[in-house]
């Protein structure tokens, strides 16, 4: 399997693969996002307790789930970069961090706009909200650290180390609603039980989650290609491609 995988660690291969995949991923993501959100906004019944304010769920939950999913992806890339010194993995860490930061910011902003009418406050320092805020700081920390050293390699390594150590925050976010008393509700969709949300609301939500996931991949493709060009600009294959 590793023999089959190995060519994919070659920057030139990844550059062209990402270039081919990107338009399809971007198009699919935007279509699914439109579909999921319009369905969720206009074609589902209101919640029996929260009225129409619950429609924020169609951005809040996808952004929150994928803020954690993106972090896992970043941490796996960071681990591969630290242990096996795969260059493409190293560049992926820095390419993916801003995507995760934006997703986390969306989860926090939509959460605040949902919290105000439902809880009566924009923000409380409870476990779920605080740990998600720490996730935003972890992303910003990875971005800041990577640029804080005059040697780009050292910066990338330290940033990867932070990304790997920060994984400890993921289970804290996930279980925060069970471990501590909180205003935030528990999970409505779990792997092991039937979802406690009506199917008419669940389908557009699942579509939006998928849209955020594919959008993350599309953005990673764009940003990784830039990183590959920046780091390989003195290699013959880049010169041959950009020269003419």
């Amino acid at each position: 399997m590793f023999k089959w995988l190995h060519p994919y660690a070659k920057p030139e291969t990844v550059y062209h693969l990402c270039g081919r995949l990107m338009p399809w991923l971007m198009g699919t993501a935007l279509l699914l996002l439109l579909l999921g959100n319009i369905w969720g906004l206009a074609f589902t019944p209101p919640d029996y307790q929260q009225g129409d304010s619950y429609r924020i769920i169609h951005l809040h939950v996808p952004a929150a789930i994928m803020s954690m999913g993106t972090y896992s992806a970043m941490a796996i890339a960071a681990f591969i970069a630290l242990v096996w010194q795969v260059k493409v993995a190293q560049w992926s860490v820095l390419a993916i961090a801003p995507i995760g930061a934006v997703y986390t910011a969306i989860a926090l902003i939509t959460g605040m706009a949902w919290g105000k009418p439902m809880w009566g406050t924009w923000w409380v320092w409870d476990a779920r909200l605080t740990s998600e805020l720490i996730l935003l700081f972890l992303y910003l920390g990875v971005i800041a650290l990577s640029g804080a050293f005059s040697d780009r390699q050292t910066g990338a390594k330290v940033a990867s180390l932070l990304a790997v150590v920060g994984v400890i925050n993921l289970p804290i976010i996930h279980f925060s609603v069970e471990w501590w008393n909180t205003l935030h509700q528990g999970a409505s969709i779990t792997k092991f039980a039937k979802p406690s949300i009506d199917p008419s609301m669940l389908w557009p939500l699942l579509i939006s989650i998928l849209a955020f996931k594919i959008l993350m991949l599309a953005l990673l493709c764009v940003r990784l290609r830039t990183a590959i060009l920046v780091n390989e600009q003195h290699r013959p294959w880049v010169k041959a491609m950009a020269g003419d």
Binding site: L41, G51, D52, S53, L59, T110, V222, T226, Q233, K239
Partner: protein, 66 residues
């Protein structure tokens, strides 16, 4: 459609401000990220081909003079 009229749709049962604040700010953030990522890529490609063209001209000039 679940709503009876457009006015009802925009009002979101009285929660319009919060719903549209969420959707508005999220779309702005996502659009900015998509635009900036693609802008960065194109910008660097332009710079790189300009640099390579400059090097090429320099090389041709040196070959002519020597």
């Amino acid at each position: 459609m679940y709503f009876q009229s457009w006015a009802e749709f925009w009002a979101m049962g009285g929660y319009g401000l919060f719903v549209w604040l969420s959707f508005g700010s999220s779309y702005v953030l996502l659009a900015a990220l998509v635009w900036y990522s693609q802008y960065q890529h194109k910008q660097f490609k332009r710079q790189l081909s300009a640099k390579l063209a400059r090097e090429k001209r320099l090389q041709q000039y040196q070959e002519q003079t020597h």
